[in-house]
Amino acid sequence: MSIVYYPGCSAAGTSSDYEKSTQAVCDALGMSFTPLPDWNCCGSTPAHATSTELSAALSVRNLDIAAKMGAEKVATPCPSCLSNLRLAKKRMEKPEFRARVDELLDEASSAELPQTYSVMQLIYEKYGSEFVAHRVQRPLKGLKVACYYGCLMSRPADIMADFGHPENPQVMESLLRACGAEVVEFPLKTECCGASHGIPERQLTANLSGKILETAQNMGIDALVAACPLCQMNLDLRQKQAGKAMGKEFALPVFYYTQMMGMAFGIKLSALGLNKLVVSPEPVLKKWQAALKEGVCE
């Protein structure tokens, strides 16, 4: 029992494709997780915007269950959950803060709470590019992609120092290169997409996502690759709104990095949830399949 898995709320709704493909890729690599039973929402932005102590209490309830299961680490695919769970653990180091949070919980939390990691970081640290490359059966040949992390995967910098440079992380690039894709350096890789303001302040989100899509599309890439459920939704489901805000037409498929890795591992496309992408991934799949065929004939 060492790594406990925290899926986060999006996994059951907007990003069930991320969840599916994450599980498929981890299975293929042999990475096993113990599910966290009875997990609850980390409270996301609404909780921390209300109170740091409330936000921490919601996160700590999860970390505490994991601690009692003997977990060494907690894994989550969602950068927003990651950030909340990590911040909570860090803040709990202060005794006065801990006392205030424990007061909100049914019982005082465990003295030692496990650290949380993104699934991406765990894959990278445990297996590395070489092992991943070794596992590839259908390389992502002919595909030119850019990686987009969003603002929370590598930040706040003081709690995410182990992930790499806060504005120029390289983990996703390494993984996708190992899968055979041509990865271009994306200058906006850690810019904010407009996050959860999409509903109450749609124009703000449409503008920020629009800038990201415009830059990406101008780079002549086949697809943008994301790692955050909220970013993916803003860039994919809201791509038309973003286009309107910029006075442009976008047609840029936005994959999850786990969907791309799964394709390279030869996992059945239906097991990767590609049917949930709003902007059709067909052109990308066709290009890839054509390149693979060419390779066979060579």
Binding site: C9, A12, G13, T14, S16, P37, D38, W39, N40, C41, G43, S44, T45, P46, A47, H48, A49, T50, S51, T52, E53, L54, A57, L58, R61, E103, L104, L105, D106, C151, L152, R155, P156, A157, P166, E167, E191, C192, G194, A195, S196, H197, G198, I199, P200, E201, R202, Q203, L204, N207, L208, M233, L237, R238, K240, Q241, N275, K276, L277, V278
Partner: protein, 192 residues
């Protein structure tokens, strides 16, 4: 932004922000780096560096009434780029907490959306999209502003139609956390 009115200086406010955020607000020398990198800045009535200046000067009302507090995306770019290692995003967060406690929420719809989200968490232990939307529409008396997304969202099953209830008493445990939080906030005189 209007001219800064120095007649309302409130030193206690400056101290309160410093204590609650754990940041040294006096370290800011107004270089403007935070403002330059702020992605939401184009929607702000008071740029983030001016908010920092306002905090230093004790301009309590002006700062707590700024719309900027509610348009901030918590992306922490400002924190990252501050040459004086001030957690600027943390200060923005503290200011949101203080503004809410004083009942000064100058962009109510953002706050209503957040409260709707927290309601689903309180009831179910987890958030779910349709529930958040329904509650938000009731609160803001707005018809779903994203109707243009509905065909894609529904055909791709992007929205959880059923609440994801935390099993085994988890939802109730979360409800108790929220209840204790609310009671304590009431007791201590802040609005939850």
């Amino acid at each position: 932004m209007d001219a800064i009115n120095l007649s309302h200086k409130d030193a206690a406010f400056t101290r309160a922000v410093a204590t609650r955020s754990g940041q040294s607000v006096t370290a800011c020398y107004q270089c403007g780096n935070c403002t330059a990198g702020c992605p939401a800045g184009f929607t702000y009535d008071m740029p983030v560096s001016q908010i920092m200046r306002g905090v230093q000067l004790g301009l309590k009302d002006q700062v707590l009434n700024a719309k900027s507090l509610w348009m901030c995306l918590s992306c922490s770019t400002c924190t990252l780029r501050c040459p004086n290692d001030i957690d600027v995003a943390g200060i923005m967060e503290t200011l949101r907490h203080m503004a809410r406690e004083q009942g000064q929420v100058s962009v109510p719809k953002v706050n209503k959306f957040w409260m709707s989200f927290l309601d689903t968490v309180r009831i179910f232990g987890r958030s779910y999209e349709i529930g958040v939307m329904a509650l938000y529409m009731m609160r803001s008396l707005r018809v779903f502003t994203d109707v243009d997304l509905a065909p894609d969202a529904l055909s791709k099953q992007k929205l959880g139609l059923m609440p994801h209830v935390t099993p085994n008493g988890g939802a109730e445990a979360v409800g108790r956390i929220m209840q204790r939080f609310k009671e304590r906030a009431d007791r201590e005189g802040g609005a939850a």
